[in-house]
Symmetry: C2
Subunit: 377 residues, 2 copies
């Protein structure tokens, strides 16, 4: 195996494929990065037990030779030092040579690195690229959808199903729902056409965060397919497969109140800043719970921290309709929601001091955030 | 006690005075920030057992009233939340009111914070501002001097004296020397006049780092005085006092070889990059030791990491005079030195494989860095 490659292309794709690789893997070979070279492309593969990422570097991009002097082959290289080596090489061209003992020489300018590689024979086989696309999603939409839901997944392994995002495809509507049982976030987008049966699966939150990290908005669409309890996302030069979580995601519709006693309309930025100030004097170990109370059109927020002090502030809502409210909530959850909702104005629907309240935006009927108040008395 | 103050002036000075304050202090009152107000100024004082910093905000700066509605007094406020409160306040003006129970109300716009303050009667008395200056140093020179030496202090408490920087004033020459017994850094500047006797003291490295952080290059000079085993640095609006370390700093002159067998002149950037590359495959737990060897005008650097691989690279020196060399050194120490020496070209003087080598620059005869080679065979 031998090739010369433009360093910046290698560095970019390396960074995409390498981040999920862990030295603490149960399958030792997975602690390395697999490089597979043929006349058309170099494929970098990184994997842990849950996620596999493949990043491809084409031999030629827009008529420019990115990879030259190709002798096809494959190798698995040690990971922790690799990005540092590639990033610090002195010249734009990097020269790789792998000998029959898997010893890999990486040359650039007068710098010569020799790494002990391993045979790729032991590396688990993947054939991600042969899957037929069953669903196509606009990348900007998907990234926004991930960002607007994944923050609400549970970080506790006590109910593993809640560490994932529930993806439902039904009647050309794709819905992501995440909840940690104290809050819920849901986003729906329309899908023009697809080749999937009715789908109700749970994707690990970490896999979606990783997908959001590696997906490049320069690509327009990502292709999605389901196969053997795996979901596969692919663009022209990138493939990410993730295992699905086993088990049934609870029906979350019944959690969402259909009526409300109070509707509050506020400017998001003003409201965020007021809540951030109150959160300064709230208890971090208890999710920064703060109090809210309304009187006519006025919102009062307050919080206290034992032995330190207290804070209160008021703000005129754009409008408040219905009963006055008085309850407590996690300012962290509220800020997470308000900061991902992408709107200048939100409507908050309250149904009583111990019932979940809902945050929506007039801009986008397809996003819903729900937060359960906290009992503080 | 009562006043209104411009928020940005308070925020800036708060950040200077507050960082050294620790919640783990043996004197409970020192976990708070002292505010002292008179008609001319607000003085913020933060302290731990080693360092005290006072930052002053004048009532009026260049004809502009910074502090108004002054009712003099003093208070000690809880620290951890204070910067967050001041930074997040909604308006430019902050209104402080302290009642007879030390409860402090901080208002800005519609935000109202109430903090439980403490009487300042218990706060240790300081009279930093009444000291007579004994030595005046240009701030840029002092900051550079700190930066060029303090990195070499020891971080181990096994020989406490080496956690400090030795300051010697002799014949109108001010010298800082730091060493952790594996390396040494020394810088001398000329002092035009001073009122100190011959001085040989040891200032904790942490105090100098803190001084470097808070000193503002907009001020031209810092005044220095010594009093009761304390050193006091002051500018118009800032005072830092630090305890001195007890004990005698060893005479480091005898460590510095007077002759050399080999003199190597190199371009600093090329040399840094080559060493950084070699350091990628060196052992972090062993100070990233790498090997150097010369042949005629050629420098060869190499390193290896067990089970991962090895690296080697060569570079033409500007010149090498004397015996060829072959030794090992900590790339971390070398990079620390090369990066603080502020020169495009350095001269390195070697005296044999197990004797310290010295790094100097033709630009500045008053800086000297010394590194002890490592025995690797």
């Amino acid at each position: 195996m031998q090739f010369k490659i433009q360093r910046r292309h290698l560095a970019k794709r390396l960074q995409q494929a390498i981040q999920i690789i862990s030295s603490k893997t149960v399958i030792p070979i997975l602690s390395g990065l697999k490089l597979e070279l043929n006349e058309q492309e170099l494929i970098l593969t990184g994997s842990n037990s849950d996620i596999t990422i493949q990043a491809k570097i084409p031999q030629n991009i827009d008529g420019e030779d990115i990879i030259t002097n190709i002798q096809p082959g494959s190798i698995v290289l040690p990971v922790p030092q690799l990005p540092d080596i590639i990033n610090k090489l002195p010249e734009d061209i990097v020269d790789f040579t792998v000998d029959e003992n898997y010893k890999t020489v990486i040359k650039s300018g007068k710098a010569v690195f020799r790494l002990y590689g391993q045979s790729s024979d032991e590396y688990p086989k993947l054939s991600l690229q042969q899957n037929k696309s069953q669903l196509s999603i606009n990348i900007k939409d998907l990234k926004k959808m991930i960002r607007q839901t994944v923050f609400a997944v549970s970080t506790m392994e006590t109910r593993p199903i809640f560490t994932g995002v529930n993806m439902i495809l039904e009647n050309n509507q794709l819905t992501f729902t995440a909840t940690d049982s104290h809050r819920l976030s849901r986003k729906t987008i329309a899908i023009e056409e697809h080749q999937l049966d009715q789908t109700n699966i749970v994707i690990p939150g970490k896999s979606l965060q990783e997908l959001n990290r590696v997906l490049d908005e320069k690509d327009e669409h990502v292709q999605v397919s389901l196969l053997n309890n795996q979901i596969i996302f692919s663009t022209e030069n990138l493939f990410l497969s993730s295992r699905l979580l086993n088990g049934q995601f609870p029906d979350t519709n019944r959690l969402i109140p259909q009526d409300s006693e109070t509707t509050m309309k506020v400017h998001v930025n003003e409201f965020i800043h007021m809540i951030e100030r109150a959160a300064v004097l709230s208890n971090k170990e208890q999710n920064n719970v703060i109090d809210i109370e309304t009187e006519d059109n006025l919102i009062r927020i307050s919080s206290k921290l034992v032995e330190i002090g207290n804070v209160n502030e008021q703000l005129n809502a754009i409008s408040i309709e219905g009963e006055p409210i008085k309850l407590s909530f996690s300012s962290k959850y509220m800020l997470d929601s308000l900061k991902t909702i992408d709107s200048d104005v939100v409507d908050i629907y309250f149904s009583g001091p111990m019932k979940p309240f809902i945050i929506k935006t007039p801009n986008d009927p397809h996003i819903l955030q729900l937060i359960l108040p906290v009992k503080t008395f």
